[in-house]
């Protein structure tokens, strides 16, 4: 895939190219990520993403731990979305042992996943505008709203972010009394916050001039880079695993997928804003329909699946999150491989940044929505 932009030698340019190492300690590289930039004035001529500063041996570690023991580690992949990470891992392990998941557990999973999507997207928008230089005001509004959902998670699972809530065959514990009512109240109020958020940001002339037509990724390019998630949909590809795979019970809900037309930073930001509204739709349906019943199938804690391989994937807020497992008949996975959306989406960074300004490189990185815990694993 040839990168767009220009590659000029030093002599052709007639001036020195400034090499700047942006990161690993930089205010807006979203963690310990480093971009080696080659700048011509302020224009990015070349960019080299460097990561691995947060490598924690996640995949190798799992090979020495029983399947269930890996569950708390998945929380730490994309530490903003513990619930969806749990679900993705549970989904792939459930394929190994083929068990039925009770109805109520399915609903709880959907509710948790969509709440996670709300958290992730409103935080992302906050960080994105923060990268645009807005001194954190939208970010702090997002954090304010996130707190409420985190409180819900805490009541449900005991922890705010490192939830470790899903189990193979269901979820760990049932909803406490009054949890659903509280959840309904918070979800009911969320659209008002979204309206305010959109008024603050959507029509802002500076946001528009800064983010429109910046970091464009066409349909073809996006699919070739195997981009997934909101970023792919912002490029105009209708691909949402909730619709494609219909995993869990997503076929029961009525929701739509927002699609962007330009594939630039503004589209990525707006697609996420719209996805939050669709998530609220799903949440309202799920809260209304949730049945009574058991929350766990009768599943042994430690099991020895037959030698086989599986790949379970879900639409995590950031894109396709998949777990590839090879079982060898023991209690531990033989191979445990994560397909993190952040990492794969990051591959398009260089392509998108070349030819833009330094300031754009920062917001393009922000619009990809990476979490270094997931990139480095």
């Amino acid at each position: 895939m040839p990168a767009r932009g220009y590659h000029l030698s030093k002599d052709e340019l007639g001036a020195d190219i400034l090499e700047v190492a942006m990161g690993p300690h930089h205010p807006s590289t979203h963690g310990v990520f480093r971009m080696d930039l080659k700048l011509d004035g302020e224009t990015v001529v070349d960019l080299k993403p460097i990561f691995g500063y947060l490598h924690r041996n996640h995949e190798k570690l799992a090979e020495d731990i029983p399947y269930l023991g890996c569950m708390p580690f998945t929380d730490r992949l994309d530490y903003l979305c513990g619930m969806t990470n749990n679900w993705a891992f549970a989904l792939s392990a459930e394929q190994l042992i083929e068990i039925e998941i009770p109805e109520r557990a399915q609903y709880i999973r959907v509710i948790c996943a969509e709440l996670t999507r709300l958290i992730n997207h409103c935080l992302l928008v906050g960080f994105f505008i923060n990268d645009l230089g807005a001194l954190g005001t939208p970010l702090l509004y997002a954090l304010r709203e996130r707190e409420k959902i985190l409180d819900l998670f805490e009541t449900l699972s005991g922890a705010r972010m490192m939830v470790n809530y899903m189990r193979f065959g269901g979820v760990r514990c049932d909803l406490p009394d009054g949890w659903l009512q509280e959840c309904e109240r918070i979800v009911g109020r969320f659209p008002a916050f979204l309206d305010e958020y959109e008024t603050l940001l959507k029509d802002n002339e500076i946001v528009i001039t800064r983010s429109q037509n910046v970091g464009v990724l066409t349909q073809e390019e996006a699919t070739n880079f195997s981009i997934t998630g909101p970023m792919l949909r912002a490029s105009g590809v209708n691909y949402d695993i909730r619709k494609v795979d219909k995993y869990g019970i997503y076929d029961r809900f009525d929701f739509k997928v927002p699609i962007g037309a330009h594939g630039d930073c503004y589209d990525r930001f707006m697609v996420r804003m719209l996805e939050m509204r669709e998530s609220i739709k799903i949440l309202k349906q799920a809260i209304a329909d949730i049945p009574e019943g058991p929350i766990m199938g009768n599943e042994p804690r430690v099991f020895k699946p037959d030698p086989q391989e599986t790949y379970g994937r879900i639409e995590s807020p950031k894109g396709e999150l998949g777990f590839y497992l090879i079982a060898d008949g023991t209690t531990n996975p033989y191979r445990y491989k994560v397909r993190p959306p952040s990492f794969v989406n990051l591959t398009a960074l260089r392509h998108m940044c070349i030819g833009h300004k330094v300031a754009d490189a920062v917001i393009i990185l922000g619009s990809i929505d990476i979490v270094l815990g997931e990139v480095d694993r």
Binding site: S28, L132, L135, L200, N204, R210, Y266, M270, V358, D360
Partner: protein
């Protein structure tokens, strides 16, 4: 007139100088001290207060509490910060240009304080009463650029250098619309003298009438901001002033999300504090000059003079804080484009509108000129602005977008 505070202050000053009548050399020194020392102290205090104000205001905008640990409402926070800054290690990069690294904060500080000297704080209250004070103000303001460049260049840091480059480009570009939007006022007032500009914004005939209501409104209605060209000019001036003072959304030289802290990256301890102080005082100075040019300076009802000037200056500063809490930052090229392709033509057009308004006032009386000016003059400016933004718009920038929702 009820600006007795100013008169009392001036009397006090004259009395103090009078004490040294027998020692002419000492008298000159005392005179100089009286002109500069209170100003320095007051503005340094104002700097401390404004950092508190900014942190508190931003915090409330962001639904936080802000500083509240040191003193009541955290009012002593600036003091604590100052002590902390003083005690911090002063780190100078090994390969930096040590002399310039040291001189840069000083270079920024000096023009900032000189600029404050040109502000007409009250009736007759002016540290450097010069005939062409406004012009001097702009001349001194242009020195900031050099200091920022010095800081950026001498640090031997790539981020600093980028910040320095940005600062130079930005400040040069915005100085032109800044001065041009002030030209309309200078033209209308017919003077470069700050006091005369303030006086031209008071309706003298109403003030002399003895009617209390007329006196009250005579102090307000004459402000240039109520005139169409003055309103437009104020917007241009304020935008350019934000850029001159490196305030958000034009804080590119120290854009923290892109180039860490720009020219300030390698500064620490007291030098950093001095930078900070100089920047805030420049912001004050430019808010003060905007007050003088467009908001009637020290004129105001009931207690004209120093109090009104301070109220107006701090209000403008509060608006700066408000903007900082709301807006994202522009990009370098957009920033330059905005100055050259949008502000500059409009500021020039505004001079013409002001000229026509001036003649219309003489021909048809002030009321007719006022109404006509708002309808025609402002209409012209508005249309021009729209046309310019359409002209400048890149073809792919389509503003509001409609999104598809598919199954």
């Amino acid at each position: 007139m009820n600006n007795f505070i100013d008169y009392k202050l001036i009397e006090l000053g004259q009395w103090t100088v009078g004490l040294f009548n027998d020692y002419p050399v000492v008298q000159i020194l005392v005179h100089l001290l009286l002109a500069t020392l209170p100003l320095t102290l007051v503005f340094m205090g104002a700097f401390g207060f404004s950092t508190w104000l900014e942190r508190k205001g931003l915090a409330r905008i962001q639904n936080r509490l802000g500083p509240n640990r040191v003193g009541i409402f955290g009012l002593l926070q600036p003091l604590a910060d100052g002590i902390k800054m003083l005690l911090k290690e002063d780190i100078v990069p090994d390969r930096s240009d040590k002399l310039f690294h040291f001189l840069a904060p000083v270079m920024l500080m000096v023009p900032a304080f000189i600029a404050v000297g040109f502000l007409p704080l009250g009736d007759g209250l002016m540290a450097l009463p010069m005939d062409s004070a406004i012009l001097f103000f702009f001349a001194v303001g242009s020195l900031n650029t050099i200091a920022v460049f010095m800081a950026g260049w001498s640090s031997r840091n790539k981020y600093s250098l980028l910040g320095g480059m940005r600062a130079v480009a930005q400040m040069i570009s915005y100085e032109i619309p800044l001065v041009l939007s002030a030209v309309a006022v200078i033209m209308f007032s017919g003077s470069l003298n700050a006091q005369e500009i303030v006086a031209s914004q008071q309706i003298q005939s109403w003030l002399a009438s003895g009617n209390l209501v007329k006196e009250f409104f005579g102090q307000i209605l004459g402000w240039h901001i109520f005139k169409p060209w003055g309103f437009a000019g104020f917007i241009f001036f304020f935008v350019a002033a934000l850029a001159e003072a490196n305030r958000s959304p034009f804080d590119l030289p120290e854009a923290d999300s892109e180039i860490i802290a720009g020219h300030l990256t390698e500064y620490s301890g007291f030098k950093y504090a001095i930078f900070f102080m100089a920047e805030y005082i420049s912001a004050f100075a430019i808010a003060g000059i905007a007050t003088t040019l467009f908001l009637g300076g020290w004129s105001g009802p009931v207690i004209a003079g120093l109090p009104w000037f301070i109220i107006k200056m701090f209000s403008l500063f509060a608006v700066m804080i408000w903007i900082r809490g709301t807006l994202p930052r522009l990009r370098v090229d957009q920033l330059m484009g905005y100055a050259w392709k949008f502000l500059l033509p409009l500021a020039i057009l505004n001079i013409f509108v002001a000229g026509f308004y001036y003649f219309a006032e003489q021909q048809f009386g002030s009321l007719a000129a006022f109404i006509g000016g708002w309808v025609i003059g402002f209409g012209i400016l508005q249309t021009a602005a729209k046309g310019l933004s359409r002209l400048n718009k890149s073809p792919t920038l389509d503003g509001k977008r409609v999104y598809q929702l598919v199954e």
